[in-house]
C-alpha cells in the first residue's frame, strides 16, 4: 500500500443502477475490492425499466446482462441488495460505513421456481411497472431480475398467507423471521450512484396528470415494453383501445422555475423514441410533439431528423398551457403555436408528459453531508482530500451512455484516492 497505515483500499458503490454497476465492475476488474449496495431487491435501476435505448433502439436488458455476468464472475465484487447507507464516519482512505439491510425473507436457496407466488393471495403495487400493475405479495421483481431471487412483501409477514408461502417452498428458501440488520464496512472511497426519480407530474396541476390517458414518459416505456402492463401494445389506459393520436409534451416541469429549473437533457430524445414506438406499432398513427426547443445533442440529431422526415410526426413549437378533459373524456391539449400564433385545442387518445429527472437524494435527510448543488445533485468530486465521488444521474442529468462514462471516471478517481495518488 503506497501510503501505508491502516487505510482501506476497498471502494463502496452506493446504488446498483447502470452507473453504480458500471463503476463497481470497472473498479473490481482493475483489481480492487468493491462493495455494491442497492436499496431495491434487484440491480438495474431505471434502465431495467426502459423498453429500448435511444438512438439505436436496442434493448437495455442486453447490456445489463453482460454487466451481471461480469459481476457474477468477479470475486472482488460483493453486492448487497435491499441495503442502504445508515451512516458514514471517517475520512478518505478510512471510512466506516454503517449499512442497513431490510429483510427479503428469501435466502440464497431460492431457485425462482415461483411456487411461493402461486401460494400468495394478496397483491402489491408492481414497482418495476411504476405501480401501473400489481403483483403477488411473493414476487420476482421482473423476468430479468438479478439476483434471480423472489421477494416476500413485508405486508404479508405475520399473516397466515406468509405461512402458506413458506409451506409452498420446496427448497426451504423462505425465512419469515429475517429481520432488519446493520453492519459496518471499512472502505477507502465511496462512489455515490444514487440515481434519480421522475419529477412528480402531479405537481403540474395545469396538465391534469390525474386523467387516465395522461401519463408520464417512464410509464410510456412500460406501455411499450413486452413485459409491461399491456404486453408491449401502446393502449389507452382509460379503455384499452389503441392509442393512435398521441401528444408528447416536452419540458413538462423542466426548464421551469416553478418546478425543475434545469433541462434534464434526455427527455427530448426519449420522446422522439416514444414517437418511434407509436409509429412502429400503428401505420395510421399521428404523433404531435410539443416542444420549446429540441435538444438533440451531437450524433443524436440524426435521430431527430429521421423523425422529422416522417409526415405523420408533427412538431409544434409551443409549450402547452394546459391539458383538460374533453367532452368525450379524451385529453385536450391547449396552447399557442409560437410559429403561427394559432391558439389551439387538440384532442388526443394519449398524452405523454416528458417529465425530467430529479435526483433521488433531493428532499431527504442524507446520512452523510455531501456537496450538493441547488437541485440536490451531488458534486462529482470536491477536492483531493475528499474520498467521495458521484456517478451517473446522481451528479446531474445524463443519458445512459454519459452515465457509464461518468461511472468510469468516478471509478478511476476512486482508485486514485485509495491508492494515495
Amino acid at each position: 500500500m503506497p501510503n501505508g497505515g491502516p487505510n482501506s483500499q476497498a471502494i463502496l458503490v452506493v446504488g446498483g443502477g447502470i452507473a453504480g454497476i458500471s463503476a463497481a465492475v470497472e473498479t473490481a476488474e482493475a483489481g480492487y475490492d468493491v462493495i455494491l449496495l442497492e436499496s431495491s431487491p434487484v440491480l438495474g435501476g431505471r434502465v431495467s425499466r426502459l423498453n429500448r435505448y435511444f438512438p439505436k433502439l436496442c434493448h437495455p436488458t442486453c447490456g445489463l446482462e453482460i454487466n451481471y455476468q461480469r459481476i457474477r464472475g468477479n470475486p472482488r465484487l460483493k453486492m448487497f441488495t435491499m441495503a442502504t447507507v445508515a451512516g458514514v464516519s471517517g475520512e478518505k482512505g478510512n471510512y466506516t460505513v454503517t449499512v442497513k439491510t431490510t429483510p427479503r425473507h428469501v435466502n440464497a436457496k431460492c431457485t425462482a421456481c415461483g411456487d411461493c407466488a402461486a401460494a400468495a393471495t394478496s397483491e402489491v403495487p408492481d414497482a418495476s411497472n411504476y405501480g401501473l400493475t400489481t403483483k403477488k405479495a411473493a414476487y420476482l421483481p421482473h423476468e430479468h431480475a438479478f439476483p434471480m431471487r423472489y421477494v416476500i412483501d413485508p405486508s404479508v409477514i405475520g399473516t397466515p398467507e406468509a405461512d402458506a408461502i413458506k409451506a409452498a417452498c420446496k427448497y426451504d428458501a423462505v425465512d419469515l423471521d429475517e429481520t432488519e440488520q446493520t453492519f459496518d464496512v471499512t472502505v477507502g472511497a465511496i462512489i455515490w450512484a444514487t440515481g434519480w426519480r421522475p419529477y412528480d407530474a402531479k405537481n403540474l396541476t395545469a396538465y391534469s396528470y390525474e386523467l387516465p390517458d395522461v401519463i408520464n414518459n417512464v410509464e410510456m416505456e412500460r406501455l411499450a415494453a413486452h413485459d409491461g402492463p399491456t404486453d408491449g401494445k401502446i393502449l389507452r389506459p382509460s379503455n384499452g383501445e389503441e392509442a393512435k393520436r398521441v401528444a408528447l409534451i416536452q419540458c413538462a416541469g423542466s426548464r421551469d422555475h416553478n418546478h425543475l429549473a434545469y433541462c434534464s437533457r434526455i427527455c427530448c430524445l426519449a420522446s422522439l423514441k416514444h414517437a418511434a414506438y407509436v409509429r412502429e406499432q400503428y401505420a395510421d398513427a399521428d404523433v404531435d410533439i410539443y416542444y420549446i426547443d429540441i435538444r438533440a445533442h451531437d450524433k443524436l440529431e440524426a435521430f431527430h431528423q429521421k423523425l422529422k422526415n416522417d409526415p405523420q410526426v408533427t412538431f409544434h413549437k409551443s409549450k402547452p398551457a394546459a391539458i383538460v378533459e374533453g367532452p368525450d373524456g379524451r385529453p385536450v391539449v391547449k396552447g399557442e403555436d409560437t410559429v403561427t400564433r394559432d391558439v389551439y385545442a387538440r384532442d388526443y387518445d394519449l398524452v405523454v408528459l416528458a417529465t425530467g429527472m430529479e435526483p433521488s437524494t433531493a428532499g431527504f435527510d442524507l446520512p452523510v453531508t455531501l456537496s450538493q448543488d441547488d437541485y440536490g445533485f451531488i458534486v462529482p468530486h470536491v477536492e483531493d482530500t475528499d474520498g467521495m465521488f458521484s456517478a451517473g444521474v446522481a451528479q446531474g442529468p445524463l443519458d445512459v451512455s454519459m452515465s457509464v462514462q461518468s461511472a468510469t471516471a468516478a471509478a478511476l478517481k476512486a482508485i486514485q484516492a485509495v491508492d494515495g495518488a
Partner: protein, 204 residues
C-alpha cells in the same frame, strides 16, 4: 422617476424602446427572461381576442417595434386573471407588464389605446366613481355605450336588457336616483392627489 420615452425618429425597429421598457415598465426588468415558449398566450382565456398576445408582444418589444407594440390591443384585452403569471416557467410578471404598457400607450395618447373597449369602459367607470363615489351600473353602462355614438348605444343597451333585468332581480341595479356615498368630495380629493403623484412620478 420614470425616464421619458426616447424619440424613435421614424425607425421601425428601435432598440432604445426595448431598453426603455426593461428599465421603466413595471416588471420590464424580467422581460429578458422570456424564452418564447407560448405558455402565456396559450393560458390566456381571451387569447384569441388579442392581436398579438403576450409572447409575441414581448418579442416585438425586444425587436424594438415601438409603434406596433403601443398600437396593440393585447394590453387592453388583459383581464388580469394571472393564469400566465402563475404558469410562466421563467417567472415573467406578464400581467404587470401588460398593464403598465397599456398605461404608457394611454399616456402617450395613442388613438388605439383610447378607443379600445376597455379604455372606454374604464373611462365610464371612473366617471361614475368621481360623480357618485361608487359605480351606478345603469348610468356608467349608458356612459360606456354612448361613447360609441347614440345609434350604437341604443343597440348595445337593447342587447344587454336581459342582463339588466337579471341585475335588477338580484338587486345589483335599480331604477331612480343613483346611490351616492357621503364623502364624494373627499374621495375626489384623494383621486386628485393620486393623479398628481402619478404625474410627478412619470415626470410629466
Amino acid at each position: 422617476m420614470t425616464a421619458p420615452l426616447p424619440e424613435s425618429n421614424g425607425k421601425k425597429y428601435d432598440l432604445g424602446f426595448a431598453r426603455w421598457v426593461y428599465e421603466n415598465v413595471d416588471g420590464g426588468d424580467k422581460l429578458s427572461m422570456c424564452m418564447q415558449c407560448g405558455a402565456c398566450s396559450g393560458s390566456c382565456p381571451i387569447g384569441t381576442e388579442m392581436d398579438h398576445g403576450p409572447r409575441k408582444l414581448f418579442m416585438m418589444i425586444r425587436a424594438g417595434m415601438k409603434e406596433d407594440v403601443l398600437k396593440s390591443n393585447t394590453m387592453f384585452n388583459c383581464t388580469s386573471c394571472y393564469n400566465c403569471v402563475v404558469r410562466c416557467p421563467r417567472k415573467v410578471p406578464v400581467t404587470y407588464i401588460l398593464q403598465d404598457l397599456g398605461r404608457v400607450a394611454q399616456r402617450l395618447g395613442y388613438a388605439e389605446a383610447k378607443e379600445t373597449d376597455n379604455a372606454r369602459f374604464a373611462k365610464a367607470f371612473f366617471w361614475s366613481t368621481r360623480k357618485f363615489g361608487r359605480t351606478d351600473e345603469r348610468l356608467f353602462s349608458a356612459k360606456y355605450y354612448l361613447s360609441f355614438g347614440v345609434g350604437e348605444a341604443i343597440k348595445m343597451a337593447k342587447a344587454n336588457m336581459p342582463v339588466a333585468r337579471s341585475l335588477m332581480k338580484a338587486k345589483r341595479m335599480h331604477l331612480g336616483m343613483p346611490h351616492k356615498i357621503k364623502g364624494v368630495k373627499e374621495l375626489n380629493a384623494i383621486l386628485d392627489k393620486a393623479e398628481e403623484i402619478e404625474k410627478r412620478e412619470q415626470g410629466v
